[in-house]
Subunit: 430 residues, 2 copies
């Protein structure tokens, strides 16, 4: 919490506004100043401890010594670009590709998920010779102009690109079988319709791009067969399937390394970012050799920072810690525990929907018990109350009405208990 | 140099091709494997030392302990995003903005020059309500789709954007006053013509984007008044002036912190990248408060990795080392020495043009003495010979016919002597 300002000593918040501007976003009604972290715990400037049940960037835990050591040691050696040979980037690329389907056998490193998605779109346009993009109607994939023109899940001043079409991701949460079947049919009909629209407009289909966990959409539970049907239709139109694993990847699902493995469709391109370097700026675009070779033959593509030995050391250390500390089985077990305990805690509470998500990612939707309408105000009150109680979570969904519980993978069973105990108490007191 | 391959033990180069693809660019006919660096010296896998007179990313010197220590210490504390308050990013933002003109008083951090230029273009389109871009006809500003559609200095498969117009940057090297005046007039007439073309096509002018040292163009020596005239015309058309300081910034010019200070025109937006974090992925877009506030009011803009405390620590350490080690006055002195010595060494050699550049950035153009045509083959032979002699340089220019000598700012007078001695010998033996 910022200290009171005097004319002589501006607060940190005031100094921030005078350099980064007043719109640079901050969490919570009263912004939180963090000074240190360890594992899943953060410490504020006031000395208060917070349980981090929100951040997926510090994937293996805040300030993990193995990642810090790997970066520190390599920085004392050299950090040159990939126009010089260096074994670090090759070792890391091999380790990363070994976690993916054999057809996903080439990687181009970048510095963020935005850069990864930009390259994916360039590759898809190149391969398909089309320009049309199919996007979820409530999603976000990056900061660049092209991605801003395809952003539906937050405010941008850019109009939607004329070659962009949006689809509603179906959510079968709470529906019976018959209703789910009807939803599947109507959703795939919408896919057919946007493909026809792109073709009629002369753009054709370059790609569909989505997060396989549909996180921004509020962890939508898609009907069985939806993703497979969507991908099949896009491919028949000559387009590619790009899976954005920025939120769903690196073992978030627990039993699976990648979110796209939830479905019976191997992506043509996989993009990565956030958790990849435990906070070190690192992204990647993964694809088949044939695609990269064809693109490389007609494009001089080079990214100055990407794949440098320090970034590679950070990324490789993350994979190593995931193995050493068995983070995937732990995420599977603790994620199941989290969702089971949350379900028990909110069972029968009016206005709180069923617990959604997969692996170590959980959400609960708030609605007005009278009208059934989305209730973002209550979700916000819960997030702010949890913050006052020392637990960090956030919100997602079309109306910001779904709690977002997505802790670092190092989250323990005891951390689940802390979170569920506090959340139960807050929800009971609503 | 890679070890010979056997079926059982693929070389590092083969393993690289099998992961990063065969088109991921490498320098030199025989790629160089670098294992460590210190200051301006690099060491290869074979144990050979190389003088680095090419890389501007390791700005304050390879593996500088002050930068490594700053990153290492902060990584052991916390590396959270800017939605939490942290003093590191604010301290760094203040230090960075203090080096710029008072109207350039807000910064948005990113992870690369590409991200910085993407935001600059979004800002320029937002402010101008136009979409037209004016670019140098031999330039490169990043890896993204929009930038690929505005790339003229290397091969991309994308066609030039329909809202992009190119101008030839005038080079008065070797011209007398009258010829320079004629060149100035015709070049500004070309600017008028592309502005009219953008307006007639309905795009209007959003921005002109260029590197104030015109590095990719071969360190073109623009006639006095050209940049001022170009910027004036763009502004009269409602467009913004974006200076890309990825190569020209951070004291490269020696006597000036920023390349744009060479001209009597303050940019509306300044973008930064390469040298900013001494290899840590870091970029920035700097602008006036009014522009950022207006954009922020209509755009939820947030970059996950950017401005995290570790990246901020890296960037701030670079600024601190520049002051502590007096790198700008050293670059001014050693750059002047470099260009003086090079001029002496090549004076009167047929087919070698006058030494160009500014600060610690020098180039020499090779031409066929008979025809006067660009001679990239000889420039390439010189680069490869220097490499065999243990000095790293490269090539720029419209035909890759200009030597590119752009060492880390830590380059010393003794390093200048080593470089000039070897280069003189190689040129004498051509």
């Amino acid at each position: 919490m910022p200290v009171a300002s005097t004319p002589e000593t501006p607060t940190l918040l005031e100094r921030r506004r005078a350099t980064l501007g007043s719109h640079s976003p901050l969490f919570y009604n009263t912004p939180l100043e963090i000074v240190s972290g360890k594992g899943v715990w953060l410490r504020s400037a006031e000395g208060k401890r917070y349980l981090d049940a929100y951040n997926n960037v510090p994937h293996v835990g805040h300030a993990h010594p193995a990642v810090a050591n790997a970066v520190s040691q390599q920085m004392r050696k050299v950090a040159l670009n990939t126009r010089y040979l260096n074994d670090r980037v090759v070792n890391y690329a091999e380790a990363l590709l070994a976690t993916l389907h054999p057809t996903l056998n080439r990687v181009s490193f970048g510095n963020s998920g935005s850069e990864a998605n930009e390259l994916a779109i360039r590759l898809a346009r190149f391969k398909s010779r089309n320009t049309g993009l199919i996007m979820s109607d409530y999603s976000y994939h990056g900061t660049t102009l092209t991605l801003a023109q395809a952003t539906t899940g937050l405010t941008t001043s850019e109009a939607m690109g004329e070659n962009v079409r949006t689809i509603r991701i179906p959510d079968s949460t709470g529906l019976d079988n018959a209703a789910t079947e009807r939803l599947l049919a109507s959703s795939l009909a919408e896919v057919d319709s946007v493909i026809t629209s792109l073709q009629n407009a002369g753009f054709g289909v370059a790609a569909v791009l989505f997060d396989p966990l549909f996180s921004t959409e509020g962890l939508a539970k898609v009907p069985a067969g939806y993703v497979e049907g969507l991908v099949k239709r896009v491919r028949e139109a000559g387009g590619l399937y790009i899976a954005d694993e920025v939120q769903s990847g690196f073992g978030r699902v627990g039993r699976l390394m990648w979110g796209h493995e939830l479905f019976d469709a191997v992506p043509d391109i996989v993009t990565m970012g956030k958790p990849m370097g435990n906070g070190h700026p690192l992204g990647a675009t993964v694809m088949n050799a044939e695609l990269l070779e064809a693109f490389g033959a007609e494009n001089m593509f080079f990214n100055t920072f990407a794949g440098n030995p320090v970034s590679s050391a950070a990324g490789h250390a993350v994979l190593q810690v995931m193995t050493d500390e068995q983070l995937m089985p732990r995420a599977a077990a603790n994620g199941a525990l989290l969702r089971r305990e949350l379900s028990g805690a909110v069972a029968g509470v009016a206005g709180v929907g069923e617990v959604r998500g997969d692996g170590l990612f959980a959400g609960m939707r708030f609605t007005d018990p009278e009208t059934g309408e989305a209730d973002p105000a209550t979700a916000k009150r819960v997030v702010e109350s949890m913050y006052r109680d020392g637990v960090l979570i956030s919100r997602i969904g079309r109306n910001d009405e779904v709690l977002k519980i997505r802790p670092p993978l190092a989250f323990e069973a005891g951390d689940v208990e802390v979170l569920v105990t506090k959340l139960s108490r807050i929800i009971a007191a609503l």
